[in-house]
Symmetry: C2
Subunit: 121 residues, 2 copies
């Protein structure tokens, strides 16, 4: 189930490299890496960002922006889109900078809502 959802998000996004479902504690539930992807430490990315994500949620609530639902980080070599599933879990996708960012967001949103039931949201 998890793997199927992740594979769909990555494979249908032009420039998609990898995706994962992870707990806020940085422990991955499942991950998927595209076959033609460069050797890539997807779990490391997720762990780094899970720390950041907690800060962001805290800050977003503090500043009255409401609960943070989606965070995008665009780097020179990689764009990462993070979507909260519930308070315990999030989903993230890494895409190439020239990848289809809009589609990644859309597929991540639909994927996250599929997994929400599974993860008891």
């Amino acid at each position: 189930m998890f793997r199927e959802v992740l594979a769909e998000v990555v494979d249908r996004t032009e420039g998609g490299i990898a995706a994962l479902v992870m707990g806020m504690d940085g422990i991955a539930v499942e991950q998927y890496l595209k076959e033609d992807a460069q050797p890539f430490e997807v779990e490391t990315i997720g762990m780094e960002y899970s720390v950041i994500l907690r800060d962001i949620c805290k800050a977003s609530e503090l500043v009255d922006g409401g609960v943070a639902r989606e965070v995008t980080i665009q780097g020179e070599k990689l764009t990462t889109v993070i979507r909260l599933i519930n308070e315990e879990y999030f989903m993230a996708i890494a895409i190439r900078p020239d990848g289809n960012f809009g589609k990644a967001r859309y597929l991540l949103r639909t994927g996250a809502s599929k997994l929400a039931t599974e993860l008891g949201a």
Copy 2:
């Protein structure tokens, strides 16, 4: 100069509320608040996010994603787009969740490149 650039970004973005130019130390260089905006602590937002931004830059470099250039945080009540100008300064815009996110990103990018010369990038 700063104020004109910020005003252009906010006023031309549907749903734009406020924008600022801030140092990584959390001290604002300039800020602009739309006249019809709710009372809104734009400087507080920037300070919160400047802390997060440093973490994000660090994490993005660590995970070989290259230097982070743009970060978007979508909350329930507010979307914030942050764009790095150089290593010392960033620009941020706050828009309503139903605002034109794509236009905010575009205007922020062009605005940041205008300010880059001014800020000695």
